[in-house]
Subunit: 362 residues, 4 copies
């Protein structure tokens, strides 16, 4: 086979980034927020806001703030050096900060990243992206609920067979089953606000999380950054307190789990012998052209089980020894972005298949 050269390199390790299958499980809107571009933008925003807030509290000079702000706008990193430093340092921030400082030049370069540590940059960068991601998830969740509410009105009065322990029980109204789906989703919807509040926070602790190089103004500077970045006020440093992040992971898995239950129900209802639900546009089979596979419903089950598994890694990462655990923190990096993509993708799939429903019950 022959493919255009640039596609040949496309990676398939993560199904979410698979060049062909990616959209089956994920989507492009949230994926964009996990591009290198987004990562770098967030880093720049962190460093500029840190400089400006530090300037406001006279930790660094107005000239330094100006020099840093202007220089970063035109800064172009040496990616190759970032790659080689990543393997040695476990992250590329030390090298990137060195490059940025060199680009700013002296005497102001030394005031870039002043008092901060790599984890401050990375955790705040995560919070900044979550501040864009969570509203997307919230909107999609509301959309799925609203489509189901329309179905509830449309198909109330139709009968479906209640099944308990996989066996026929008694007939119920189609609206009862749909109402149960909506209840689950409304329950997870309600839980978003406190989760969001806890994770959309500036991280600013310095080397050991004690804000030791901010001349006692660390909290004020972090609060000021919070205002600039539309994140919550500083509160205590969360370098090793990962309760908020683990709680977000729980919420992500509650969403995908609730959608997995709905997908499982729909899979069973769409089965030919049951025929309680009719989709338009089911998936094709390479061997059986007559089939109409409710692919999206199954994907919801797969995504639910995947997130239920990843959640365990995020809770293992709570055991974050000492003042910074390279092991536990890297474990978060391996797990959380994929959990976010899972939930984002599940909401997309759920929305799509709910809109493909032509009939529930009879």
């Amino acid at each position: 086979m022959r493919i255009a050269a640039e596609r040949f390199e496309a990676m398939t390790t993560s199904l979410f980034d698979h060049p062909l299958l990616g959209q089956l499980v994920g989507d492009t809107e949230v994926a964009d927020l996990f591009s290198l571009e987004s990562e770098f933008q967030a880093i720049e925003i962190f460093e500029v806001s840190l400089a400006q807030a530090s300037g406001k509290f006279d930790l660094i000079s107005t000239d330094a703030v100006k020099a840093i702000t202007e220089a970063l706008d035109k800064f172009s990193p040496d990616l190759k050096a970032l790659i080689s430093s990543s393997v040695q340092d476990g992250l590329y921030i030390p090298e990137l900060v060195a490059q940025m400082r060199a680009h700013v030049g002296e005497p102001h370069g030394q005031y870039l990243h002043y008092g901060a540590t790599s984890q401050d940059v990375i955790d705040t960068s995560l919070a900044l992206r979550l501040s864009k991601i969570l509203p997307i998830l919230e909107r999609r969740l509301a959309s799925v609920i609203s489509v189901l509410e329309a179905h509830s009105i449309a198909f109330s009065g139709n009968r479906v067979m209640a099944r308990t322990r996989m066996q026929n029980a008694i007939e119920i109204d189609a609206g009862d089953r749909i109402a149960n789906w909506i209840d689950m989703l409304a329950d997870v919807q309600r839980r978003l606000a406190p989760v969001r509040k806890a994770v959309l926070r500036v991280q600013l602790g310095g080397a050991a999380g004690t804000r030791d190089r901010f001349d006692g103004k660390g909290t004020e500077i972090a609060d000021e950054m919070g205002k600039m970045l539309d994140l919550n006020g500083a509160g205590p440093v969360w370098h090793t307190n990962r309760v908020g992040i683990a709680d977000l992971a729980n919420w992500l898995s509650l969403v995908s789990g609730a959608l997995g239950k709905i997908g499982m129900d729909m899979s069973l209802m769409a089965n030919g012998a049951v025929a309680e639900l009719k989709f338009s546009g089911g998936g094709k089979s390479s061997a059986m052209p007559h089939k109409q596979n409710p692919v999206g419903a199954e994907i919801l089950v797969a995504l639910a089980r995947y997130n239920a598994t990843q959640l365990s890694a995020m809770h293992q990462a709570l055991v974050h020894e000492n003042e910074r655990s390279g092991a536990a923190w890297t474990l978060e990096w391996l797990s959380l972005p994929q959990m976010i993509m899972t939930t984002a993708g599940a909401l997309n799939r759920a929305d799509a298949i709910c809109r493909q429903i032509q009939r529930i019950g009879a």
Copy 2:
């Protein structure tokens, strides 16, 4: 070896129930709420309150209410029949209801469990026991926090070495490290109220979760039961909406995870080469009489990792197909009680070792 006969049968399958090691990981106070006695008491409370609430709304007669209430007080189940029916039915409630009805006798026996299904009994019984367990956990959490707050005052000013990526970083105040521990615990403490509200609910749905046999008064009856049992008003049936239960599991693992981080820190601090923390009364070794093992600190790590794993099962159980999933529901039964014991035991261990601390930092 020779042991008194009745101890020979004691089971060691679950470490929490191990006749010798049980208190190492768990405790007796919460364990008592998972005795058969507690289970039966909760079932009786459910059936009596259902009868009384149904009576109030004229679903069953005052005579039936009286007969049921009086008879249950003296009822003694045939355990052998319950055992054999369990394997066949997947639970013992159908057989127990049959026995209770026979004990009440006609004409009133038929009104016991009227309109309810096994899941109503079991889920409400869980909620009743959680209403006793959660305050115990809350009290213990407050106790650990208060011991740590006292240490924070006592040892502030002492120095400890901050360690990032397991390597020495800079010296910090012992109070800074303790403050971080307290922050984590305060974070999980704050999260209890909404979790509790969501799970302390009556379950009353009948065969397929539609309250179909309550003459349209199912919600009122469930609300009335909520008042009697000091549980929340009915709201929607949660037969297959396990979001509340999964969220409780998350909370339990957040608690044990936060304690695991503290235990890990203490293990590392107590190491002879580091010597930043001194416990009284460490554990003995059978081979090295000179050792003082900070056993409780390690147990906290083990319990954190155990709960982080179990949480995955509780989220898998969200995929609760149709109107009742024997598979997902049984998976909850296998996992949730052990998660509760894990958290209860971790709080006990944490409290004990925090009280054994003689010195932090130098």
Copy 3:
């Protein structure tokens, strides 16, 4: 309600030990090997064989061997002291050894447990019990396969609907589906021998796993114990090399997973709308007397998902830091016995429901 007093204390924390529901998920034959009696017997066997093997290699005197062997036979431990020492030491072996030595008395008591450490006793005790458990599991697996082979002959020629992606595909022979079930089970059956070989090993390492107090004869003594106990020769100490144990956990979950797939298929086939499989003696419902629930099939799914979760804990426990990890080792204790019970129970359930099959296909 009123129940005979001694049953009131029965614990329900672990579903496997639940006084009423235990046999739904487990069984009594394997459970017996997790009684305190079995645990103590195995400990006695370890200490006696250690003494005898040490005597053979002149590490301890013939008189000491005789004194230890005779004394242990009549030894009755002080359970109360074992309980209180467990919490402090993380295990009860140091206290038990002290009691046993006191019972033997001087001058020979000091030669009991000579050169050994607690982990030697506990790991060898596990191996001894596994040497009884694995043949039980093997026998049950063979039994399930043989029942399925009989069904394969009986129902070949009958048609069932192949379902791919939960939708009807093409009709296939009932024998094809059964053959696939048998293939899975035969695959796990084949994998038992190497797993068994790796775990049925004596553990004898002493304080730090270096056999430092055996005068250079540690390997010979361990080999001699292997012959006495019908376990494999010593090989390297496995104090912190838990690959064999983790691999056993994998095998246990492969068995329950394969049975879970079969249970899932049977659940779907038994559904009234599909009616491809007919069981005798299904489970009752407390609300719907007409139902026949294939409870055992669902239990297989629950047990598969439970073990798939526990396996993660056993692999987390591979990270067994230094020469003995109290955290990782305790995590094994929390998880492995339940995994064994899960697989043992799943095989029992599978055998029972396979024998209840009256018809597959039509």
Copy 4:
């Protein structure tokens, strides 16, 4: 910041594919086998070998074989159509087969993919890539062992402190600790052969796994393909028997788990207060220029815990209902490639840090 446009799109969802951090946790050699190019090559190899084997057994004509073989060599797929069909069908094979058939043209196009189904292509494509990946992992494992063996010789005689329960126990020889590491790795090394044999198998089952369209020659054709592709003979179809795949996942996690134990030990040994191990070239910190972080050792712990988690998903996927489970199969796709990358990366990291060791013990 400004970055060259094409890098802006690079995805960071999966840490393994992160354009900067990828090599920290993974590597490029194994990653190449998860490129779209490798995926398409494997698909082409499958379809050509199927045609040739089918030709040999006269299922399709010699002309058809020739036409298919020649046409596929020059075939260039319409990627855009593959993407849009993926979301609808859950995979892109049906569309790709349609494109390939159109490219071959009639009368021979219909004989491409003759008798096969999408799962045959995808599973065999996985086996083909595993046949290249497993030798890479095997070679790396041997390399790590050999570096450790050299250290064992070099540092035997040096003393290190054995630590049990995280506390100092007794001094041991550095060689004893290294020997234990080697034992673990040798144990997993030994386990590869049977795992490999079981997964390097052709998949050829057709629509429902019954080889129904091969005129009774399905087994012969599959065996012939096995010879062509250097994979094992056909044996039973493994469409829904995922024991081999789950067992591979176990092996991958045993490897990363064993390396995680070694990484944990090294992290603890490299700590300044312990100083039992000295690395050259540790990682930098952005806040503390004096630090030398043993980043690779921590990464090994993170990768071990990640794989221990993913393994659970692969065992959940054993519950592969009916003749093909879109849910369970997609769950494998989400998990297995990342597990492979985890183990491949862990071996790379382990090899690198072992070579950086300058001293163990004193």
